[in-house]
Each structure stands twice: as C-alpha cells, then as structure tokens.
Subunit: 279 residues, 2 copies
C-alpha cells in the first residue's frame, strides 16, 4: 500500500484549488467571498487543457501530478474545481494525499436534488464529464426518484475562451445543445463545467424562467467552510484583502483575459510552473 504524505495541519496554511485551466476561478471567486480570511493557491494545468475531451485515465494521471505539485505549499485542503477531474480523479487523489479533498459534482448534485426533490434535472458538461455518468449517479443516490437528462456541450468552453459571450453564434449553439433538455421539461439545469457560469445569461434566456440554473461554486464554498470548521482548520485571523495566487503550466492570453472576466478584477501575478510526472 502506498503511504500517504504526512501533512501537519495549520490554520494559517493555504487552500489549494486545482483546475484544468481558467474555469475554476469561478469556484475560487466563490471561496474568496465565503472565506475572506483564507489564502488560496490556484493551479491551472493550462499546458494540457482542456481535460473535457480526454480519456478518464489520462485526466486522473494529470490531476495526481498537479496536486502533487500543490502539496509543496503544505495546503490544508484541496478543492478540485474541475468537473472532469472531479468525475475521474477523486479516488486516486484521496488515496494518495492525506488532506480533505472536495470535488464539485457532489455539492452541485446536492443542491439540485434539494431544490428539485420530485422533478427532473438536466446536466450539461464536457464530453468526458457527461460520458463518466458521475452526475446521474450522484443525483440518484441523493434522490432515487429523480429523473436525470444529460447533454455534452463541447463548444461552450472554446466559445468562452474566444470571448464570444454575447455573440448570436453562442446563442444559436446553446439553442442547439439545450433544445432536447428543454423538451424534457426539466425543473433544474446543473452547469457541470466551471466555464459555463460565464454563459449563464445565454443559458437562462434559452431555458426560460421556470428552469432553475444550478452552479456548484457557491455550494462547494459552503461545504469547504464546514469541513474546515469541523477540523478546526479555519483561518480566524482577519485579512485586509483577499489572497489568491495563480500558478499555471502554460500562460496563454486566454487565461488572463478569461480570468479577469471571471473575477471582475485584475488577476495579480500569474506564475508559470513545471509539473513533473508522478509514477
């Protein structure tokens, strides 16, 4: 059996956030709002992004390599802010690293199930996330009577990264992807990819006001807050300004451009790092 890395917990230690690219900043933003005293270290694997078009095993390997890199910062908890990595890598990460590790699928599913106890739920995400079946599995465990319909939307991420947020093309692509889900009369729609909240207005306009849009970022933050409190790991010392340090494996223009759009402010320093293979 592989021995877990020994970590000394400390309330002052940072929280690690891992994502395939820039989309996870939607989760980082929610965590900064919920836990303003915490220090966040974000790692986006932009050199190998996107994950959503790739095989589960490959995604799990990449995730282990990235989190192994983050461990040098002695993070006290990890949020996997990428739906595809949450779908494929959580068991491997939990086996290897001895800190609390939260994904985004369970919190998003919990919220949707709570809000739609008897209805039917739609889930959209990358090809890999939808192919994994992770959302239907989580939702059916939470609310066995629920009906779940899924749809992969592979063009949403490149449209966001191209900055075509209000473009009529994006509206038309969303209409094509969503019309079957709408025909199923879903009550809620889970945005199962961290890029999708950026398209929330377009998606909501097509779905209509009767469909509740569920984004897991806020629920993950609440859950993280509870986990840290239970383990007495919450930072209580007040911080005068939010602390987010961004690390990336490649610096594409899109990271800065999309990142600033997500945070609604300057990103601050973004440092390129080299993530090594883990065997």
């Amino acid at each position: 059996m592989r021995s877990k890395l020994a970590i000394k917990p400390a309330t002052a230690a940072p929280i690690g956030i891992f994502d395939s690219g820039v989309g996870g900043l939607t989760v980082a933003k929610a965590i900064l709002k919920q836990l303003p005293n915490e220090r966040l270290i974000y790692l986006g694997d932009t050199a190998r992004a996107p994950y959503g078009t790739k095989a589960g095993k490959t995604v799990a390997r990449f995730a282990v390599e990235c989190v192994n890199y983050l461990m040098q910062y002695k993070i006290k908890a990890l949020v996997v802010a990428c739906n595809t990595a949450s779908a494929y890598a959580l068991p491997a990460l939990r086996e290897r690293f001895g800190i609390p590790i939260l994904g985004v699928i369970q919190p998003g599913s919990k919220r949707a199930a709570a809000e739609t106890p008897n209805g039917s739920i739609g889930v959209i995400g990358t090809s890999a996330t939808i192919h994994s079946g992770a959302y239907p599995k989580a939702l059916r465990q939470l609310a066995p009577g629920i009906q779940v319909f899924t749809q992969a939307c592979p063009l949403f991420v490149p449209l966001v990264e191209e900055g075509w947020i209000d473009n009529p093309v994006t509206h038309e692509v969303a209409r094509i992807y969503l019309h079957e889900l709408i025909a199923k009369r879903i009550s809620s729609l889970i945005l199962g990819c961290t890029h999708y909240p950026i398209l929330k207005n377009v998606i909501a306009a097509i779905c209509g006001s009767e469909v509740k849009i569920v984004d897991s970022a806020e629920t993950v933050s609440q859950e993280l807050s509870e986990v840290l409190a239970q383990r007495r790991l919450l930072q209580t010392k007040k911080r005068s300004h939010s602390s987010l340090q961004c690390l990336v494996t490649d610096i594409p223009d899109a990271f800065i451009r999309v990142g600033q759009r997500i945070l609604g402010s300057e990103l601050g320093s973004v440092r390129k790092v080299r993530v090594m293979e883990v065997t």
Copy 2:
C-alpha cells in the same frame, strides 16, 4: 553542444509524422498518395492537444518530447504536420535530431507565393500560429512585394472535432472570421492549420471563386519526395497496400471519428503511448 542522435539511414525505414492531434492526418493522406511505397508512423499528442492556444516555448518542448519518442522507430525523415509546431519547434528539433525535418509553413508559403506573385495573400490559423508571424515572414522572403493579411480562427478546430462540418453555425463563424480578409481583396487564402481542409467547402463558399484556397498537404508531400530522392532514401520496393500506423498519447473519440472522416476509410489500429519528458 548537444550531440545529435546517430541514425543509420535505410530506405526501408519509416517516415515519422508528428502532429498535436488528428488534423495532421490530412498531411499523412497526401503523403500516402504521393509515396505509396512508404511506411508512415504518425504520432498525435492528443493528451496535450490543442497546441494552437498555447505558448511557443511549451509547444517546442512538447514537440521535442514527441519526436524523441518517434526516433525509437529509426525514422528516416520527419514531417511536422502541425502548423503551430512548425512555427515554434523546427529549430529545436533540427538541432537535436539528425534526420531531414520538414514543416508545413515553408511549403504552403512557397505554393501560395508561386500562385500569387503580385497579389495579396490571406492566412488563417490557430492563435499561436498567427501570433508567431511565421507565415508573413516566410511569404515576404519568397516574394518581397507581396501583401499578407492574417486572421486567427480559434473556433474552427473545436467545430471540426464536434463534427459540425455542414452546420449553419460553422458557416456563420467562418463568415465572421473571414469577412475582413475578403474586404482586403486577397487572391489566395492559406489554410494554416491541418484541421481546416475539412472546412474547405465552407471556407471556399464564403471566399468566392476568385480566391484560391491553398492547403500545404500536397506541397509538403512533393517536397518530402524530393528530399528523400536527393538523399537516396526513397523506398522503391512496391507495397500492395498503404501503411499507416497511428500512435496517440490519449485516445479520445474525436481522434477516431475525425480521423476516419479525413482518411475516408478506417483508421486501423490506434495505439496509446506514453511520451516521456526530455530535459
């Protein structure tokens, strides 16, 4: 100085083709047509694709790692069938590996310059390829009086991989990307990304019959044929059927689906391999 790997030339040795993903099969197809007796080994770095959104240094590092892997097959020549890698990685590859190495930018530029000696040329490609300025540089060296206009088209690759070839959305995206180039009254348009020939009909319909569409696949094959002949490396032994072996670093559905569309036939075996870091 780093010593080059010693390679024993042999006419029976295979030709290596390297691409970030599946698009380079458009080049492989042209080479199989031009040189039907040769054996091709294709490596697509699908685990880290696309390259076109990434930084030049990262692309160069990935290319060196992939070609280092291909060298174990004792390839007698290499075609870098990826415009982004051709734009950023040729010097590093030529310094390290002692075999003939051809990119796609020089041959595509040669053809366009020959066909448009006094006109103006448009170039479309990924963000990284356009950002590199490699096409304008190559074109101006070949025909100093020529005018060159460029346009990055980041959504074309995901549209091809989603299979939306004849979709009205793709037509509209192409119209948005191309309208400024058309307004410049270009005589030729270079398809500076190996995925784009799959969208040739859409692109040609928007450009109109007065714009010549230039795809480098055929010119690269001719140049490869000349290089092998000069070095007496051409395989003269007749082969009863074409030989293409595909290696990939990840097997996404899109590789099989898009690959078969490109080749117009079954892909045969596609084997997943692990490319290691090179320091």
